[in-house]
């Protein structure tokens, strides 16, 4: 399988706290890789390094063959049109309506688009997540699940080839969490995206993972299918299933 993300020997520390310590991982085209790990294990740091929000101390993160830490601002902006990022807290702009939230990136990247075309893309993104009626609402008027779905619509609107999900089901009830899982799979099938999903929600892992990677002590401790993880006798893996 062709690899779209190749991470090799990644190191990141904050002061004396070593978060990523020789971490390596590959993500194939149209593959969903779930990175599993305890809270504070460095999962979010990992995907923030991939998107270029944090700069690793050393190591390489090649996305479509380009090393992210080597890119300048313009190159990084161009690369980011190919990478979507779903924030744990949604990070919707709370002073803007849902429509404005979705239009914001669109207007900057696709400058030549007519208002009619932009409206069409906004509505398509909202229909994908089942929320076309929220287009004129403010984020404060939406429930937790709706916020997550609007955030997902915003992530998808530039039609990225890779999506990074930072704990997509955290804080949601099991039913809504399941809906988000299904939405992730539906959008992946529709747009043929590759994904890294950061989570410690085992239902999310089971529903969405093509492959699971366990982040432990800053390293990729183990990789495999969900079933292999479930059957594993390794103490560190077993504790996630208890």
């Amino acid at each position: 399988m062709e690899a779209v993300i190749v991470i090799e020997h990644l190191y990141k520390r904050f002061g004396a706290n070593v978060v990523l310590n020789d971490f390596s991982l590959e993500v194939g085209k149209e593959e969903n890789v779930v990175v599993l790990g305890k809270s504070g294990s460095g999962k979010s740091v990992l995907i923030k390094c991939i998107i270029g929000l944090l700069r690793p101390d050393s190591g390489t993160i090649k996305v479509f063959g380009e090393n992210i830490p080597d890119l300048n601002h313009e190159e990084l902006d161009r690369m980011r049109t190919k990478i979507g990022f779903l924030f744990q807290g949604n990070a919707l702009y709370d002073s803007m309506t849902v429509r404005e939230n979705l239009e914001f990136s669109l207007r900057r990247h696709w400058i030549g688009f007519s208002q009619q075309k932009i409206d069409g893309l906004v509505m398509e993104a909202l229909e994908n997540v089942g929320l076309p009626h929220t287009v004129e609402m403010m984020p404060a008027e939406l429930s937790g699940g709706m916020l997550k779905r609007v955030a997902l619509a915003r992530t998808m609107i530039l039609q990225p080839e890779i999506i990074l999900y930072d704990e997509p089901t955290t804080g949601l009830d099991p039913v809504t969490a399941r809906e988000i899982d299904n939405l992730i799979l539906k959008l992946q099938k529709k747009y043929h995206t590759s994904s890294i999903i950061i989570t410690h929600d085992m239902n999310c892992v089971k529903n969405t993972a093509d492959r699971v990677a366990l982040l432990l002590d800053g390293k990729c401790y183990a990789q495999g299918k969900y079933d292999e993880f479930e059957r594993s006798t390794d103490q560190h893996i077993k504790q996630f299933f208890e």
Binding site: R80, F87, G89, A91, L92, Y93, S95, S105, R108
Partner: protein, 256 residues
């Protein structure tokens, strides 16, 4: 030990603010410009501040005149009241009071808004979405405060002088024409130019401090509150420091 730590923190903070200001000049004012957001901020920061500036300016002019009158009556120079009030308002009270009111309203608002955006990852989301948040959020706000404060000061001065005119007429009768003729005859270019010029620096300081505090906000909601609070305190101190430097500078130039 704590004293040394405080000193180190002070210089650290000063260095960070200087670096943030340098970043504004290196990337904040280069194309591509966020013109639409700049106009939006000018509206929110300038136009929306006008009622408050007008109200405080009017009261300031009125009170200043009423407070000055007894002293001038004692010395028998009551007729010079418009002249004294005019010079005081245009040279010092107008710019400084307007800047302080503006700092209270705008620096806190910018600090809280950007701080809230920072802790809810909206600034990161903007960056991930391919928008330079420094240009979109910081440059537009700093330019808006720098451009709007001088305009508000001119308007504030005018309203303050009108308040002074009302104040003069509480105890005596002076025509509108006579009052303003006396005020403008007493003012020279050397009074207006430094007073007007320093308001650009006041506006810049308020904008950059508000943005710096908000942009570097930490520790959740408590951090947002601290950002708003310290933005007001620091920008108010900066106004007085700039005023002190301005008066020294104009003194050297012989404009005092």
């Amino acid at each position: 030990m704590k004293f040394t730590a405080n000193i180190r923190e002070f210089f650290g903070e000063t260095g960070n603010l200087a670096e943030f200001t340098g970043r504004f000049f290196s990337i904040g004012i280069k194309p591509r410009f966020e013109i639409k957001e700049l106009f939006n901020q000018c509206y929110l920061i300038g136009y929306k501040s006008l009622p408050l500036i007008a109200l405080t300016g009017f009261i300031m002019g009125l009170v200043l005149t009423m407070q000055l009158r007894p002293s001038l009556v004692t010395y028998g120079v009551e007729s010079q009241l418009p002249v004294m009030v005019g010079i005081a308002i245009v040279r010092e009270i107008g710019p400084v009071i307007t800047a302080l009111i503006f700092a209270g309203k705008i620096a806190s608002s910018i600090g809280a808004e950007l701080g809230s955006m920072k802790v809810t990852e909206q600034i990161d989301a903007m960056e991930v979405g391919g928008t330079n948040p420094f240009k979109y959020l910081v440059a537009t706000r700093v330019l808006a405060t720098t451009m709007m404060l001088p305009v508000l000061t001119v308007m504030g001065d005018a309203i303050c002088l009108f308040g002074a005119y009302i104040g003069v007429n509480i105890r005596s009768v002076t025509s509108f024409h006579l009052f303003f003729t006396q005020v403008f005859h007493s003012l020279s270019f050397g009074d207006l130019l430094p007073a007007f010029t320093k308001t650009f620096f006041f506006g810049f300081a308020i904008g950059i401090v508000g943005c710096y505090k908000g942009y570097n906000s930490t520790k959740g909601t408590q951090g947002v509150g601290n950002s708003a609070n310290s933005a007001v305190v620091l920008s108010s101190v900066m106004i007085f420091l700039i005023d002190l430097l301005a008066v020294q500078f104009t003194d050297i130039l012989g404009l005092n």
